[in-house]
Amino acid sequence: MSERIGEIIEANTNSFIVQCYKLYESPPLGSIIQSGTPTIFGVISEITTEPLDPSRPIIAIGHDEPTEDEIYRSNPQLNNLLCTRLTSLTIGYSDGDNVYHGFPPHPPRIHSFVYLSGNHNIESLAKSFDFLHLLLTSGAGDEVISACLRQISQRVQDGYTFLVESGQALATELVGQFPRLNAILRRLS
């Protein structure tokens, strides 16, 4: 099992929010993560660091500190008052044997452990480009899509072919939106 990164703190069928165990220790944007049973896969579409208590706004405190790291050393409570959360868009689920590109029948449970997906699962997901349609309809930005495809390309056997084929799939999805397609492809090239 890959590294555990956090727990689900909010979930619905098409997305879930994860709180990371450690401040600032979130996988990069576009990473594929998984959680729950059946396993639900998602793509990180947004990473936020904010106060645990929304009613206690953060104030600037480092006026007299020489470096940014000094601020955290002088105020160790910050690691408990702040948290890093990430939003994941669901792109599929697995019943153990097969991977389905679609929303799971039920959302994952709260406090489900969240892991970074391993190469085996990523390759299974990347066999079809249906996940791109889900990402586009879930409102994922161009940056998320390009980051996700770049990361997958580094984990599959023939990364270039994967990028070309995913570009072709995007061209089919984004008919009539050539500027957007062009922007994503430029980020991939």
């Binding site: 061209a171 089919t172 009539g176 062009n182 492809l185």
Partner: protein
């Protein structure tokens, strides 16, 4: 019975794409698969479309570059960035083919079902394949007595055959600019007629190219004439024996035309070439009436002094000017060598006898080929007499068995627009034949470089047209007039190579076909013409007579 297996066929043919839209009238659009480059597809190529219930046979009439997004043409990244270019070229751009569905093919070969004109279109997403050799053979027929191998489709080695039975039922035409291979194509067609023995032919050989040795100017070689290839089946007549001797060309008979054979109608036909006014041409009728009737008038007229002509004209109310110019121009006949006061031999009768015996007659003009007056006079006169004879024979044979009917005759004329232009088509015998002589078993084969100059009424009666390269708009319009899908054929016609290519359409072929005409000029080509592959049976026997002989020997 051979059951056509679409799946098996799919494997041996290359899939071009799928039907995406279209109509019966304007043709259907095929979206090409990405694995095939548009650069490999040529206009005029045949395709078969496997619809849900029927197979269709069609012709590619246009190749287009398409994109799924019109904005693509304004972007540079598709050309600047190889990665983006690779993606876009394989997903957003595609080739599109316009295909004219021409025929529906039988689903099961060997049944009663035959190839029929397409009256519907294949359904959406039907698979489109490049036509296989077998498909082409099913459509054009296998080479046999009535199916004559005329050439190959472009990019294919299959034999395209024309149906000679259909070809001779109506008039046919060979059009093309000068130097595009009209003469070669005509030679091949005539060889086909001789080979098949379905009809006799009479060729007015204006430039002495068909009977004896001709020239292949492009390859700088001499090619055999039909007399050399089919020694026993062809008779060469000449109007100019001196010229034949000089060319060392063998001829069988000399033709002379007597003044007594010329009628005022012939003068009327020559009105333009003799530069006669209407009044002058009409005056010939008056002189005919006054100078002893049909047989004698011309001789008498030419022997008259000009003063006597004036007197005669004055007495009969003929304009003096017209009478003078008529007399003046007709004296030209005296300078034409083959025109005699009385002919020594009845050449027409001789020709008719030969034609009825199944021989083919080639009339060489020698140096008179360049004299339009002589050419038109001789061609018109001989044809008129042959025509009269055929009409008589056909009428006699009515009510009796088919065997008594005159043997079909194809009259082949060059520079046909001289006889068939709108001004004279109604008067010349050729106009008459083109319009109605089909019922008398006589048809024309018209060879011309200016189809637009031919009377439209005559053009509309032509059954089969073989067009070499033409680039004048009016000629193209005239050639394609009334043909279904003429808009699509137009572009095919204007892009023909200037050598060895012809577009054939009309009754003798089931659909318009662009062919690379078969070889004529090499030794092998002559053998193919005299001993076609279908002639030889499995037992090495070539003709029915030979078969009978062999049978007699056996028993």
């Amino acid at each position: 019975m051979i059951v056509e297996d679409n799946m098996a066929q799919s494997n041996e043919q290359s899939l071009l794409g799928h039907v995406v839209s279209g109509s019966l009238r304007d043709g259907i659009e095929i979206r090409m698969g990405n694995q095939i480059s548009v650069e490999d597809i040529k206009e005029g190529t045949y395709v078969t479309i496997h619809g849900q219930k029927k197979s269709f046979f069609g012709l590619i009439t246009n190749v287009k570059l398409m994109t799924t997004d019109p904005n693509l043409q304004f972007s540079y990244s598709a050309t600047d960035n190889p990665f983006i270019s690779e993606i876009i070229s394989s997903s957003m751009t595609y080739g599109s083919l316009s295909v004219l569905p021409m025929l529906t093919l039988p689903a099961v070969l060997g049944t009663e079902e035959t190839v029929e004109p397409a009256k519907t279109v294949p359904s959406h997403f039907s698979q489109v394949f490049q036509a296989s050799e077998r498909d082409v053979e099913v459509v054009f027929g296998k080479e046999d007595k009535t199916h004559f191998f005329i050439g190959n489709p472009l990019d294919m080695e299959t034999k395209v055959c024309i149906n000679l039975d259909e070809l001779i039922k109506r008039s046919s035409a060979v059009f093309g600019k000068s130097g595009t291979g009209k003469t070669f194509l005509t030679r091949i067609l005539l060889a086909g007629l001789i080979q098949s023995d379905l009809a006799s032919s009479l060729v007015f050989d204006m430039h002495n190219e068909y009977g004896s040795t001709g020239q292949d100017r492009d390859r700088g070689r001499r090619v055999s004439g039909l007399k050399q290839i089919f020694e026993n089946k062809v008779a060469v007549f000449t109007l100019d024996p001196e010229n034949s001797k000089r060319r060392q060309a063998k001829y069988d008979f000399e033709v002379q035309i007597g003044y007594d054979e010329i009628e005022p109608e012939d003068i009327q036909l020559l009105q333009a070439t003799l530069n006669l006014s209407n009044v002058a041409a009409e005056a010939a009728y008056t002189f005919e009436a006054k100078l002893g009737g049909p047989k004698k008038w011309l001789h008498a007229f030419l022997e008259m002094e000009i003063e006597d002509v004036y007197t005669l004209a004055q007495c009969n109310g003929v304009n003096l000017q017209a009478a003078r110019s008529l007399h003046n121009r007709l004296t030209r006949f005296k300078r034409i060598g083959f025109m005699k006061p009385t002919a020594i031999d009845d050449s027409v009768k001789r020709m008719l006898d030969l034609l009825n015996k199944g021989k083919h007659v080639i009339l060489e003009f020698g140096r008179y080929g360049d004299d339009l007056t002589a050419y038109m006079l001789a061609a018109n006169l001989l044809t008129r007499r042959i025509h009269n004879r055929y009409v008589y024979m056909k009428t006699e044979a009515e009510g009796t068995t088919k065997a008594n009917e005159p043997r079909p005759l194809v009259i082949c004329i060059e520079e046909a627009h001289r006889f068939l232009n709108p001004a004279v088509a109604h008067q010349t015998i050729f106009g008459n034949i083109a319009r109605e002589l089909r019922k008398y078993n006589v048809t024309l084969m018209i060879i011309d470089q200016r189809p637009s100059a031919i009377d439209s009424e005559v053009m509309s009666q032509i059954g089969t047209k073989l067009a070499c390269q033409l680039d004048n708009d009016r000629d193209i319009d005239a050639t394609l007039g009334g043909t279904s899908g003429s808009r699509e054929l137009r572009s095919v016609l204007s892009k023909l190579d200037s050598k060895q290519q012809a577009l054939i359409f009309g009754h003798a072929v089931p659909l318009p076909v662009l062919v690379r005409t078969r070889e004529y000029g090499s030794d092998g080509s002559y053998t193919d013409l005299t001993r076609p592959s279908w002639h030889t049976t499995d037992f090495g026997i070539e003709t029915e007579e030979e078969l009978e002989e062999r049978l007699k020997e056996l028993f």
